[in-house]
Each structure stands twice: as C-alpha cells, then as structure tokens.
C-alpha cells in the first residue's frame, strides 16, 4: 500500500524500476544516499546510481554533461544543498544549457526538524522560481507522487522535486490516477474562501476547512503541487467564486506559493489574499509540533487567516 510507504521509498522504487526499464535513467547522489534511500541502488547498479561525494556543484554540472549525452539524471540532496547552494549550476549548466536534469531536494521547509536551521529549505522555491522554464513540483502525498513521477520523467526539461522523506499524511485514495503535473486540483468545493495549499500544508488545510465548516464557513481547497508553472486557470476560477484566498505553504511566504498566487490574482483577478507560511524568519531546530507552532503553520492559523480574508472582502 502506498500510504504505508515512506515518500523516499516511492521515489527509489520508481528509480529502480526505471533503471531496469529505461537505459537513460541515472541517479546521482552527493553523500546522502543512505538518507534518501538510494544507497542500495549504488550497490545493485554501480554504473547507474552514482555518488559524487560531498560536492553538490560538481553533481549538478556532471549531471548536465550526462544529460547532454542522452541520459536523464535525477540528482539528489537535502533541499538547501540541492538548490540554494548550487543555484548557479542549476541556472547555467542545467537550465540555460537546456539539459534534462531532475533535481530532488528532500526535507522541505520545517520537515528538516532536528537538522535545524542550516538544513531548513525555506527559500528554495523562491531561489529557483525566477529561472526560466524550470518546473517546480512539491508532492502532496504518495498516491499523487507515484502518479506524477512518470510525467516528470517524460517532461523534457529540468524539474525540481521538493520531496518529503518520511511517511506523508494521506490525502488521496489508493488507486487515484487522475493527476496532471501542470494542473492544480479542486480537492473540496466551497463558496466563502479558497485555501490554496502545497505539500505538507494540504492536510493542514483540510483540517482547517473542517474547523471553518463548524463555524459556518464554506472553504474551497485547491491542491497546487506544481508551483511553477502555476495553474492560473484553476486559481482564478475559484477566486472569482469565493472572492477571498489564503495560501498555505511550508516555505517562506516570499517567493513561492503566496507570491505566485498573488501575481496571478493581481494581474488577472484582484482578490483579497492572506497567507500562512514562514514570515521573515530563519529555520530552527525542533520537532514538527513545535515548529508548526513557532512558524504559525497550524490548522488554527489557517482558520484565522481565512476569517481575516473573508472580513476584508
């Protein structure tokens, strides 16, 4: 059952299947293969699961060289080292050179938990989002992720996957396959406020919607796993209906989901907007319940933001 798996297992199972089935697939690690789960692949497929050691810049550009040779490399590291540390290599070797490299950054935002502030990617999407043509995807749960991975493989161009490693909250039913990498999904229909959520904040938004319902407020939930390119059509359709939007993300509110949604709304459908996410703070060490509290990322915070948005209509 997918719901019992760690998300990293969904990823490594996919890589293993594809190494066996598709000679173009290569995974490149930078000394975190034991954390990401690709370590056994290095033993089983030494030519196709490569470890460059602790040298992320080299990893990104080596992958670009491999891609220029017709391979499809998936490069992996913890989120901050797979993005902000190698931003220029992603920009020049991969994106500017139009190389088909997939970038996997794990432990998004506060899910880095006990690794603390240095390992907490709260700005990775913001760092990458202004690079032309890169696709930025944050899986919602294992069912969706398993369905999206083949689409990511088949998309001819760079994709950043912001991957949780542990067992994620279940959002979709086992067997659901109706997912499109470039479409957001209306998960729950509502009429008073729209909650646009990504990643780990989707299940928090679902919980918030239930609490809002108890208060007589009907919340629509849009699951928006692909932050770039953002599905403006689905967001605008919902904003036209509810006239109030709240973004919910496990990232600094600057540069990622809130910014992308605000850009869409301001340009095409001016709508009241509130946001839940990290606000002008660095990450810090702690377990998830503590971190959700200090960064105001609990369901109760979404409820407050939703009521404020409705009040501003």
């Amino acid at each position: 059952m997918l719901k019992e798996k760690l998300m990293k297992e969904v990823f490594t199972d996919f890589i293993k299947e594809n190494i066996l089935a598709d000679e173009r697939i290569i995974i490149v690690d930078a000394d975190l293969s034991k954390c990401i789960g690709s370590n056994p692949l290095e033993k089983e497929f030494p030519d196709r699961a490569i470890n460059v050691g602790i040298s992320e810049q080299n990893m990104a550009s080596v992958a670009a060289g491999l891609a220029s040779y017709g391979f499809i490399p998936f490069i992996t590291s913890f989120g901050p080292f797979a993005t902000r540390r190698i931003c220029d290599q992603i920009m020049i070797s991969i994106c500017y050179a139009q190389q088909n490299v997939k970038i996997v950054g794990t432990d998004p935002g506060i899910s880095a938990e006990l690794n603390g502030g240095t390992h907490m990617a709260l700005e990775d999407i913001g760092v990458l989002r202004s690079i032309p043509h890169i696709v930025i995807y944050e899986p919602t749960d294992n069912v969706e992720f398993a369905a999206m991975l083949p689409q990511i493989r088949d998309h001819n161009g760079p994709v950043y996957i912001r991957m949780f490693r542990k067992c994620p909250p279940v959002v979709y039913k086992e067997g659901d396959t109706d997912f499109n990498l470039f479409k957001a999904k209306v998960y729950r229909e509502g009429k008073d406020v729209t909650l646009v959520a990504t990643g780990l904040m989707v299940s928090t938004a679902i919980e918030a919607a239930k609490q809002l319902e108890e208060d007589g407020i009907s919340a629509e939930i849009i699951v928006c796993p692909t932050i770039k390119p953002i599905d403006s059509e689905t967001i605008i359709a919902s904003a036209r209906k509810t006239r109030a939007v709240v973004t919910c993300e496990n990232h600094n509110v600057m540069g990622a989901l809130r910014s992308a949604v605000a850009e869409v709304l301001c340009e095409q459908c001016p709508t009241v907007l509130q946001s839940v996410g990290v606000k002008e703070q660095f990450g810090e060490v702690g377990k998830m319940p503590y971190l959700r509290k200090v960064f105001h990322m609990e369901a109760a915070d979404i409820v407050v933001a939703a009521k404020k948005a409705i009040g501003l209509k």
Partner: protein, 274 residues
C-alpha cells in the same frame, strides 16, 4: 598532416579571431589567442568529428570551460566548415549564433554551454562518464583557464574524474599567467600547479602550449594513457601571435580592436610588416 600545414591553419584562426573581435570593436582576445595551437591540434588532427554532422553519435566532444574564449572556438569551427566564415563577423551582435561565451543551443559544433567558470569542467566529466557508460569510445577534451582554476568546482571535478578513472577525458589548462584583474601569482597563486594535478591522481604533462609539436606529443601520450584522466598544463602567452595584444599582458583579457589594429595584425600574422 605536417606541422607546417597546422601552422598555416593556426595563422588563419588568429586572423579569424582578430577579425571577428574587431567587427564588434572589443572582446576577449588575449585568452582566445593563447589557445589557438590546442584548438588547431584538436580539430584538425585529434578529434573524431564530422563538421557536416555536428551531432554525430559517438563523436569526440570539446568543452571550452573558459567559456569567454568563444571567439577562438568559433574561429576554428568556421574554418572547419561548421558554418560560413562570414558569420564570424556577427560575433556578439544582437540575434547572433556566436555569443561571447559558448552556447551549445546556439552554435553548430559547440558541445557544451559554459561561461560561469568551473562548471564546464564538471560537465566535461559528465560527458566522459556518459561516453564510458555508452561504451562508444568517444573522448572528451576540455580547456580550463588558469584563473578559472581558482574555482573550487574545478577541484571537485578533478577529484571525481580521477576516482572514476576517466581516461577518455583530456583537460588542458591555458596557463597564460594572467586573469582579469592581473597576474595570477599576485592575486591567488596556483603553483605548484602540475604537482597539484598529480596529487589529485591525474596523468600530467607540462608543455609549451603555443608549440604545436610539443603539444601534439602530449596529446598523443595522453590518448595512449590508460586508467587516469589527463591534464596537459599548457604554458602559453596571453595574446599570442599579435604584438599589440601580447604586449598588453594582463590588459589583453578583454580589449578593444580598431580596424587599423586588425589590418596590422593580419599582416603580422601572415608574415608581413605592420
């Protein structure tokens, strides 16, 4: 092919470089002129390529990691017939296929984009690794700058290429002793450079990089070498072959070239008086 013929080819490359840079008024002339002999030997003698089929499967690849030497590579590609020589005069013009720094998506014959220093070398390592995985017998050649060797990524790539025993990778350092801001030894010295590469597990040659015969011998030896990547440290002269550029020393990294200077340089290269 004898060295006389290669020498004539190298002269034409220098004429092409000065002409194309003059067409836009200024450019990276010093570090373009210093690698002419290396490019001549690679494209005229050593690389398995087909100018009529720039994407030929199994071809040898070349990465100009010091991407600002684009004008030198374009000069060679045009001379080899990848595109018309007249196109050299579009260098850096809006809409050109010949941008200042090498771009694989713009120019026929360019195998890898470069410009942000240090990255091209890692890309070359990836290409050499790809060739090994595909077992197509292709080699990857790469030129890095001496100033570029101050980038940490060069040494990440060096470590990994040796670890992977990429003997199909031959890298050249254009050791012309100057970087943009001045003399290498005054800014951030590389010495002992050859020893550093040896310590990183590379097969190392140290030659006069502007001497065709000496450089050719090193390339032949590097190709025959098994089990290690090869580094050819080329002692070169920045601006080699054109007096007004050479004499500018560190000042020739990027400099203006007037029509008068170009005419004089073309005469000088072809053996006439300025």
């Amino acid at each position: 092919m004898d060295y006389k013929e290669l020498e004539s080819f190298a002269k034409e490359i220098r004429v092409n470089i000065v002409s194309s840079i003059c067409s836009i008024g200024a450019g990276h002339i010093g570090g373009s002129l210093s690698i002419v002999e290396a490019l001549t030997l690679l494209y005229k003698k050593h690389m398995k390529i087909d100018p009529a089929n720039p994407k030929m499967e199994g071809r040898d690849r070349f990465v100009c990691s010091k991407g600002h030497a684009g004008p030198a590579v374009y000069a060679v590609l045009a001379e080899m017939g990848y595109f018309e020589k007249s196109e050299l005069l579009t260098l850096n013009q809006g809409g050109t296929r010949l941008p200042s720094h090498c771009d694989m998506n713009k120019t026929p014959g360019i195998d890898m984009t470069a410009g942000s220093l240090g990255q091209g070398m890692s890309c070359a390592v990836g290409i050499a690794l790809g060739a090994k995985l595909k077992k197509d017998g292709a080699r990857c050649y790469c030129i890095i700058g001496d100033g570029e060797s101050q980038e940490g990524q060069i040494w990440e790539a060096a470590l990994f290429a040796a670890h992977k025993k990429l003997d199909n990778l031959i890298v050249f350092t254009d050791y012309n002793k100057y970087q943009l801001d001045g003399a290498i030894e005054e800014i951030n010295n590389l010495e002992p450079l050859a020893e550093k590469w040896k310590a990183f597990g590379w097969n190392v040659y140290e030659v006069d990089g502007n001497c065709l015969e000496e450089l050719d011998k090193a390339i032949i030896a590097a190709k025959a070498n098994m089990g290690k990547p090869s580094m050819i440290v080329m002692h070169t002269i920045k601006g080699k072959g054109i007096e007004f550029v050479e004499s500018a020393k560190g000042g020739c990294h990027s400099m203006s070239v007037s029509c008068e200077q170009r005419d004089c340089a073309v005469n000088e290269i072809r053996g006439g008086l300025c």
